[in-house]
């Protein structure tokens, strides 16, 4: 899984992209395997003041300090952050940034061709469809393909800045 080069292989004329499928609350999502550095069990997390609620805090990943966020809180899902033995953290690489994302469980790796992916329909999900790049089906279950970079981008920086009290004015 760590070898990013193998995550994209060519079968015939159709290129296959690999996705990591995971559960968030009652919904199933997948993100490109290229964005995934590794998956780990939930470690001790130290809270960080002045961050929005979905910022759970920071963790030690072999000497590196990495922020951990809970997408369930980010997406305002009803099922809150309960930890089960299946709960895992996906360490994502977004640009030069490494972030830990808490998910209910990591399910499998999907190999999808472009035929397998349909445009995002007017689906019902808890989240902003701007984060969704497409939809696929697996055993009659809808799998939403998540653009993790978009989810965590600019908006969150803004949120953090806002969460901090204004400078002494």
């Amino acid at each position: 899984m760590e070898n990013q080069k193998t995550s994209k292989s060519v079968v015939g004329a159709t290129s296959v992209e690999r996705y990591l499928e995971f559960s968030l609350g009652a919904e199933v999502y997948a993100m490109p395997l290229l964005a995934v550095r590794e998956v780990i069990a939930v470690p001790e997390i130290t809270p960080i003041p002045y961050t929005p609620p979905h910022f759970l805090g920071m963790m030690n990943l072999r000497g590196q300090v990495i922020s951990v966020i809970d997408l369930r809180l980010k997406f305002n899902m009803k099922q809150a952050a309960t930890h089960t033995p299946e709960t895992a953290i996906i360490i994502c690489n977004i640009g030069s940034l490494s972030l830990g994302v808490v998910v209910n469980s990591v399910n499998s790796v999907l190999a999808l061709t472009s035929q397998d992916i349909s445009e995002k329909p007017g689906i019902e999900s808890s989240i902003n469809t701007a984060y969704i790049t497409g939809v696929t089906r697996k055993d009659n279950q809808l799998v939403l393909l998540l653009d993790i970079g978009k989810v965590l981008n600019v908006t969150d920086y803004a949120a953090i800045t806002q969460a901090a009290p204004a400078k002494a004015a």
């Binding site: 960080i48 000497g63 300090v65 990495i66 940034l97 800045t161 901090a164 009290p165 002494a168």
Partner: protein
Amino acid sequence: MDDFEKELKVGFLDEASQLITDAEQCFLNLESSKDDPSVLEKIFRLAHNLKGSGKAVGFTELSEFTHQLESLLLKLKKGELNIDSEIVSLLLLCNDHLRLMVDGLKADIDAKFDSTQLLSAIGAILNGQAPAKAVVIPSADAFPEEAAVAASPIPIPSTQDPFEALEAVVQNSVEAQVIPLPVAPVAQVSPKAPAPPATTAKVAASDESIRVSLGKLDQLVNNVGEMVILQTVLNQHKNKVQSALLQKTITQLSKISKNIQDISMSLRMIPLKQTFQKMQRIVRDTSKTLGKSIELHISGEETELDKTVLENLGDPLVHLIRNAVDHGIEDPKERAAAGKDPVGNVYLKAYHQGDHIVIEIKDDGKGLDAKKLTAKALEKGLLRPGQTLTDQEAYHLIFAPGFSTKAVVTDVSGRGVGMDVVRTNIERLSGEVQLTTTLGGGTCFKILLPLTLAIIDGMLITSEDERYVIPLAQVFESIRPQDKDVHFVTGVGEVLTLREENIQVYRLPTLLSRKLTPKPASDTIAIVVRTSEKPFAVLVDEIIGQQQVVIKRLGAELQHIRGFSGGAILGDGRAALILDMGELVSKTKPSQAKTSHLRGVA
């Protein structure tokens, strides 16, 4: 391009950068040390070396430019041209251009440059000053030895080997001139002749160093940091170990760890020399623009700083220096009227002081005027009418955003960045700026910087069941207050009376905007901080201990939060935040504090 050529080119550019930096000082000294041939000699060697090596590794443009520069320098060296301020300015421009080319080539090895303007300026001087001699500026192709021979004033018999030809000419001329002692040149050098300078103590030449990527260095420092933490754990549990041998080993290991830590930290250290030398140029250019006569005195340039600190120190330093030249030092007339030497002095010093490196920027100018500053602040609405400030508080007004003491925004130092930016930049480096001033006598800024950024001595504390690290450098003292020492003062908040001094008190959870369990002061520990202008105390729950921690950068997603200098990994493997007490306090509204009406001055 083969690997060797590439390596050679890259190596050359590094070497060239170093040479240019070394020479910059000489360019500046030219005016003042006209009679010192060694200064010109060094610049000449720079041009000469860049020309020769540049050509050899294939940087033709650079080589052609330096060739022309060398011609000019040669005239200066021979005394055919006088060194005046115009020529020095031109030489400085040439130096800039060289640096531009070298930096440009570093970025793109095939970069092209336009040197025509400077080349024609040099050409004009070469031609203008020596019109009679019909200076032939050899083209870059003049390097092949044919040119040397062709230019020879001595007729040379046409043989195949120019060396033999020259040798023959020499032999002939030696004989023809009937120089006694055919071995004269050799005989002059008796074995007892003054030996070349002793070289035993000479610092290792550049080839004895290797280039290491900063990434690798940081990895090393990171790992050493982890090692130091584990060492701390080992030391803490040493007494639980039964075996005397193990105990002894731990002690020895501890010493070695410390050594490795020191060495690996020193790898990132770079002398201030280059940065200081840039200031020489800035003083020269700035004072010239302003029509002032100013001397910059530099000392301690061998002092070393962490690379990251050094890189971020440049801009604040430039600003402070410009400021001293522009606002600090008076016009020559004004100085004369005040009975001062019309030549102003700016002192740039670096030295060690305890755990800090101090960089001092001092001028003998007019000093700050507390009254004028206060008036200005009133005018700008930074102060409320009727509000009084101590002189010290008034001086610190200059750090307030948008505060400029000069009515006319000059071309020199009035360019957007203010002293507030200087202070912010320094504080970002975990440093601080101190200021002392005497009206009519001058102003002194002291920048205090931590020796290294990577590892700090930290105090591990708890607050509401969470652990934080406070840099020990920020802790003046920690005391367990008695309830009677902490009072609530209406309009101020909690105040700690400590040895007859009243100190503003903050509860850490409040500073961190977290839930606060009310508890009596006697159940807390007061951490007294005196690094800011006003001392303050922060109440925490417990002190767990002191330990060295490696500062880990927080992710970009957290960079915007003020008050944290980074993360640290504690002995048990959990992450903790390193707090910056001054920043935390300044970020919370200084509610009813006296200076609350002072924007940015807290």
